[in-house]
């Protein structure tokens, strides 16, 4: 079977090379047969990669330890589901998943555009195939998952305990669907430059592909945060870990693009800037995979030793250099009319929003890579972690929050003084009122106050936009109440989907504010019968429990939890000692409500028989998860804008 696996990846590599060559030659000569062959070869890459995934997946589930990858990442005590999920636990498997998703995007692209005879779409397919050449090469020649062991062990090394969590079953694939999805916008952008294509219709297609990937990447980031919250046991959800940063960066630049693309669609401006953002988003996606899988920076995610680092660096440098050279070469194509009526306009606010998104990305990139740079320059090791990012990124993020409110209420082209007065008065008053309400309640400091003001400002602008839309439709629509809102939203899904996303953003900001600024913590060793008090909660230790789980010994503290004297039942924060890795893992006990989470951790059982318990109250943390779901729903709503799509399809045909 391993020979078939190796062969499938080798043939996939050859097919990818053939696809690029055939389409390139077909575009040059105009021979339709060559273009068709190139497209078919990309289909073959997808099929062959799927075959490779099935073969390695079968070996993982069967625990066939003759495969080195299986022996390194699974063990007999793993459930079949976790054994299969080991596919994305290591470097080779992750890259194979990357390739499968890449090839699937290629296949989806070919399917959606199968009736388009325009060679431009062949050029897009060629760019996708070019990236597939890189990944198939890595998997066929550098780090094959089908490497065999001469002396297979009786049992494998097991799966990293951190990954033995149901969240890890879906977090990496969702994240990868987001990361890899930026290949299509990138391919469109490069194809436009290669084919010297004018017009803006392609930009709407790119916007939809970008939105799709952006949604998955954002959801993947959120799942990662949730996983960190329940699995890492430090009371938080975002530690500015290099790999968290790596997933955030393409999302930030993608967000910038989704705003600035509106200026190009409406005004035909910022063409060069938009192509640059597409290229940067894709390069940061590759960089994220490089960080995750190369082990170049130390983090909890860097499980694998690098044998692919130089290849990735070469690919990132090579592809970004080529893309930049193309942008410069086709400068004339990207020239815009670039005329504006006024700086104070929605266009202006979007441009400043872009500056902030890119600045936030730059700050994150610099902070993530700086320890390596600093060590190379000064020779001394330093850390750049949460304390740095909280000081540098938070003010930039808050400026973005304020612009999130200002942008939608500024008119396109020119915002007159009367428009500014009309649209800013209520949100500003709401912001001030909310701020004043928060001051006597213990919330102080510039950042919390700006967060409260900004959140109230944005929420009010969104409500005003809905109210204004309802008022405008009053004369033409007879429906009232909820139906009127539904009708209003379905008439312009793109606009109102955007507002839903903004609502989600505000919820996340409020959730972060609550769970970080007014978080409470208590910790101390307890004897049986003693109580730890935190806020309104009392945690009384009833004793400890020991039990055996597959692959691990579990120690739990049994806590009677009550709030204001009312019993909330028992909670069992635990520590699991995994036999294979001899690694202790924290199992958090959570009491979740909409208002706050009670987060309990077992520190350990001490030599004197006491049990160390650590507890946090995380106010409003549920708003982060709900806000994330609201953002996903808003994006789905925006993507469902089929009427516009159909109209454009008709125009295209």
């Amino acid at each position: 079977m391993s020979e078939i696996g190796r062969l499938s990846l080798l043939i996939a590599f050859l097919c990818a090379v053939f696809s690029v060559g055939s389409i390139a030659w077909g575009l040059r000569t105009g021979r339709v047969g060559l273009l068709r062959s190139g497209r078919n070869a990309l289909w073959a890459v997808c099929g062959l990669t799927l075959l490779a995934v099935i073969l390695i997946g079968r070996a993982l589930v069967a625990r066939d330890f003759t495969y080195r990858y299986v022996a390194e990442h699974t063990s007999l005590d793993l459930s079949p589901a976790f054994a299969f999920a080991s596919l994305w636990a290591g470097q080779e498997g992750s890259l194979l998943l990357w390739l499968l998703i890449l090839a699937s995007y290629g296949a989806a692209f070919l399917w959606f555009y199968r009736k388009r005879l325009d060679p431009f779409y062949d050029a897009v397919a060629m760019v996708v195939a070019s990236v597939a050449v890189f990944f198939t090469y890595l998997l066929a020649f550098v780090c094959s998952p089908f490497r065999m062991l001469a002396n297979p062990p009786l049992d494998g090394q097991g799966l990293n305990p951190l990954l033995q969590d149901p969240g890890m079953m879906i977090h990496p694939p969702i994240l990868y669907i987001g990361y890899v999805g930026f290949i299509i916008p990138f391919a469109f952008g490069i194809a436009v430059l290669l084919m010297n294509r004018t017009g803006t219709r392609w930009i709407e297609e790119v916007r939809r592909w970008t939105l799709f990937s952006w949604m998955f990447l954002g959801f993947g980031v959120l799942l990662g945060a949730r996983w960190a919250y329940v699995e890492l046991g430090w009371g938080g959800y975002w530690g500015w870990d290099p790999v968290e940063n790596a997933s955030l960066m393409p999302w930030l630049v993608g967000t910038a693009f989704l705003h600035s693309v509106m200026i190009e669609q409406r005004r035909g401006m910022l063409k060069t800037w938009n192509v640059a953002l597409i290229v940067l988003t894709f390069e940061l996606s590759i960089f994220g995979t490089f960080l995750t899988r190369s082990g170049v920076l130390t983090s909890v995610h860097s499980f694998a030793e690098s044998e692919i680092g130089p290849w990735f660096m070469a690919f990132i440098i090579g592809s970004s250099t080529l893309a930049t050279a193309l942008i410069i070469y086709r400068k004339a194509l990207l020239e815009s009319e670039n005329r504006m009526d006024a700086i104070v306009s929605r266009e202006g606010s979007f441009l400043f929003n872009n500056v902030l998104f890119v600045a936030l990305t730059f700050a994150t990139f610099l902070g993530t890579t700086f320890p390596v740079v600093s060590e190379a320059v000064t020779g001394a090791k330093i850390s750049v972690s949460a304390p740095f990012f909280n000081r540098v990124n938070v003010p930039i993020g808050l400026a973005l929050l304020l612009l999130t409110g200002a942008g939608p209420v500024l008119s396109w082209r020119r915002a007159t003084l009367s428009v500014l007065q009309r649209n800013f008065l209520l949100p500003t008053v709401a912001g001030i009122l909310a701020t004043l309400a928060s001051l006597p309640l213990g919330l102080h400091g510039v950042y919390p106050i700006v967060t409260v003001f900004g959140s109230a400002f944005v929420l009010t602008t969104v409500v005003m936009e809905f109210a204004r839309g309802l008022q405008a439709r009053k004369d033409v629509a007879a429906s009232r109440g909820a139906m009127a809102i539904v009708e209003l939203m379905t008439k312009n899904k793109r606009r109102y989907g955007g507002y839903i996303i903004h609502l989600g953003v505000v919820m996340i900001f409020i959730g972060v504010l609550g769970s970080s600024v007014i978080q409470k913590e208590a910790h101390r060793p307890l004897k049986t019968g003693e109580t730890l008090t935190i806020g309104d909660y009392a945690l009384t230790l009833k004793g400890t429990e020991q039990k055996m789980e597959p692959g691990a010994a579990m120690t739990s503290a049994v806590l009677d939890v009550s709030q204001k004297g009312k019993s909330l039942g028992q909670s069992r924060p635990s520590k699991a000692m995994y036999f294979k890795s001899q690694q202790p893992m924290t199992e958090v006990a959570l009491h979740q409500t909409l208002g706050e989470d009670l987060y309990m951790i077992l520190g350990g059982v001490n030599d004197d028989g006491t049990v160390s318990i650590q507890a946090y109250i995380n106010p409003l943390v549920s708003l982060i998860w709900i806000g994330g779901i609201v953002m996903v729903l808003g994006t789905i709503f925006t993507l469902s804008d089929r009427m516009r799509l159909r109209r454009e399809e008709k125009e295209a045909v």
């Binding site: 400043f352 872009n354 209520l426 009122l433 309802l470 409470k520």
Partner: protein, 174 residues
């Protein structure tokens, strides 16, 4: 704004103020003990666990982290201040224990560059915006609504403006 949307917006505003006040009031009467104002936490939240876990010390649950948190508590009780405790930890583990590098020497770059880049970005954006606004042709329109001096060029510009207004109105109706 007409009265309907204004009423809705005022209602939303009041609801928002109430919503903002509710969760915060729940926390208002609690003491600062164990909160972010805890002096031990003020120190440990700025440090990184020196073992390979790489966690911020305040949230670290590994043995090394718990040991160091105990050390910080002990030193605070002994009357040492934040600077003295940090200095003793840096002497033992090196600057790598700080969650953010000190803003001096080469490490100043990481503190200055993000804000410098943001200011530079704003400057460049403003410069481009100003240039694009200047490029916009100004059409003088007379009090009767006719274009400027009635020149053919001005009339064409006015027609162009009318067409644009109609297109935007159509777009709004959609």
């Amino acid at each position: 704004m007409t009265s309907g949307p204004r009423r809705a917006a005022i209602a939303a505003l009041l609801a928002l103020a109430a919503a903002a006040a509710f969760p915060l009031s729940a926390r208002a009467n609690e003491s600062a003990a164990g909160s972010k104002e805890d002096p031990a936490r003020a120190i440990t939240s700025q440090l990184i666990c020196p073992c390979s876990c790489g966690e911020v010390l305040s949230g670290c649950t590994c043995e090394v982290g718990i040991g160091l948190k105990g050390y910080v508590d002990k030193e605070l009780k002994a009357g040492k201040d934040k600077e003295a405790i940090e200095a003793s930890l840096i002497a033992k583990y090196g600057e790598v224990i700080l969650g953010a590098p000190k803003a001096k020497g080469f490490n100043l770059v990481v503190w200055v560059a993000p804000f410098a880049a943001t200011i530079l970005g704003f400057g460049i954006a403003t410069m481009f915006l100003t240039r694009w606004v200047r490029r916009k042709r100004v059409v003088a329109v007379g009090p009767d609504g006719a274009a400027g001096a009635g020149t053919p060029g001005a009339k064409a510009a006015l027609d162009q403006l009318r067409a644009r207004a109609e297109a935007e109105l159509r777009e709004m109706k959609e």
